[in-house]
């Protein structure tokens, strides 16, 4: 957390965010306000804009309209140093995206050393602490292609936590995993939620969303159609689209 001042306003705000790829409109005016320490789960069918939303928040893709604010400060405004913003936000991708030519330890310490200018010894001490916590201490010198998907994803989470992010974005982080490896990654996320880290997750794990989310947002055609605490959204969805989606999810045995 930067500074000691108490944040009265929301941690992250999205205000009428719009994004198109060519002619395809992916985000159609997203409004969302996320309080400090909240865990938000984004659910919805493939192509509804979950991943794009997360990429836009981390400024990996420029938005075409609207505004995104972090601690009340517009990060999508002109003249903002995107590198500085990204150092305050962590993101984890579906396909881990560890650097294949580096050991886990180098993967994890690259950001702090190069982006933040932290000494190698200090960065490695911090890295080992986190790797230890997530059960990867013995993998520190392994290369990503020598590890399981679950280990890769946990290492990727460690990498994203190295800069002490104020908010963590998780983009379907269990979708590429074998079913028996999903649990180890989810327990890491649950641990982070318990420690009060603000998180936004795009996920297909409805059971997990119900368990860990403070609010669940249903996205449809680039809009937040419905946002409510999990018990409410899963128990009594308001919109027909939400009902249809949840019915299909239940049919597939995922809730």
């Amino acid at each position: 957390m930067s500074g000691s001042e108490v944040q009265a306003g929301p941690k992250l705000e999205l205000d009428d965010v719009r994004k198109s790829y060519g002619d395809k409109r992916v985000l159609n005016g997203i409004d969302l306000s996320i309080a400090d320490q909240e865990v938000i789960c984004l659910i919805g069918p493939s192509g509804c804009g979950k991943s794009t939303l997360l990429r836009c928040v981390d400024l990996l893709d420029p938005i075409n309209g609207g505004e995104i604010r972090l601690d009340g400060e517009a990060i999508t405004a002109r003249g903002v140093d995107a590198n500085e913003v990204r150092r305050r936000i962590g993101i984890v991708f579906q396909s881990y995206n560890l650097f294949p030519h580096m050991s886990v330890l180098d993967n994890v310490t690259l950001g702090p050393r190069r982006a933040l200018g932290i000494e190698r010894a200090e960065a490695e001490a911090r890295a080992m602490e986190l790797l230890e916590r997530f059960g990867l201490a013995d993998k520190a010198n392994d290369y990503p292609n020598r590890m399981s998907g679950g280990q890769n994803q946990r290492a990727a989470i460690v990498r994203s936590l190295m800069g002490d992010p104020e908010i963590l974005l998780l983009d379907e982080v269990t979708s590429a995993l074998d079913p028996e490896l999903v649990g180890e990654v989810l327990s890491v996320i649950r641990d982070l939620a318990d420690r009060g880290l603000t998180m936004v997750l795009a996920t297909h794990e409805m059971g997990f969303a119900r368990d860990v989310a403070s609010r669940v947002c249903f996205l449809h055609e680039g809009r937040v159609l419905e946002a409510a605490p999990p018990a409410e959204l899963f128990g009594a969805p308001q919109h027909d689209r939400t009902k249809q989606f949840l019915a299909r999810v239940i049919e597939a045995g995922r809730l």
């Binding site: 990429r55 981390d58 990996l60 590198n83 990204r86 150092r87 962590g90 993101i91 991708f93 396909s95 995206n97 560890l98 650097f99 294949p100 030519h101 690259l110 950001g111 190069r114 982006a115 933040l116 290369y143 292609n145 020598r146 590890m147 399981s148 990727a156 990498r159 994203s160 190295m162 800069g163």
Partner: protein, 298 residues
Amino acid sequence: MSLHGPPSRGTGPDTNGEQVPRRRLFAGVSEFFAEEGAKAGAVAVASTIFFFGGAAVLISRSANWPSVRDQFFNPDDFSASAPDVLEGFWLNIQLFFWAMLIIPVLALAIAVMRSLRGPAFMPLRILAVVYTDLFRGIPLYLLIVVLGFGVPALQLGGLPTSAAFWGIAALSLSYSAYTAEIYRSGIDAVPESQRSSARAIGLTQWQSMRFAVLPQAVRNVVPALMNTVVSLQKDVALISILGIRDAVREAEIYKTRTFNYTSYIVATLLFLAISIPLTRFVDYYTARDRAERSQSQI
């Protein structure tokens, strides 16, 4: 095993039934013996001796062979021309060495310039595109002549007039353009997600390139780069047009003096003595790299 696929020379099935290349320096020959046994080996030796021996007999007994032999393979001319040609070849090696120092660095700079993103880098991207278009588009021969004869003729103050200098410059400009494109294909082959995750941990565009993309890109293209080295080693001979007394030039001088072509054969053998081992090494390296990569996937 496909009946219509390309010949799988030097490959063998591994335990998973996949084709894993394990071509070695003279693979094919040694593997043949290992796989086929002694009897088949004996047949292979006999038929090889019969074929090449027969060809040798036929050629040496043909009516024109004595004149060919005297013109191209004369032992006296061989030993007479060898010292000068060898000395010239040493110059080829030196020029090759200088070009090898310049090309990878220049080419990498061009490739990186072309791969930079964002409106601010537009001039650099344009510069890189113009460079590659220009120097890939001009025949190497023409470039050597223009720079090697043309620039010194201008007698501009401050510019070197050495033919060797401009010869290396021409080779480096041309080969850097090709090599830059090889690098660029390697950069483009690194998945976009690697760049995203580098940016996501706070690295700048340049740092992402330097620490995440380039190491993977270069590894992708090492075999292609080494093929360029083989080709460069031969093309160094082109600068003999500038009158530089390299191996080819020395051979030509000897020929002009004696009307005997054996000196060219000396030069040929010298170039082959470098390029064949180099090619074998490229094959070996490529196969090893491929094997390593296929093993390292779980």
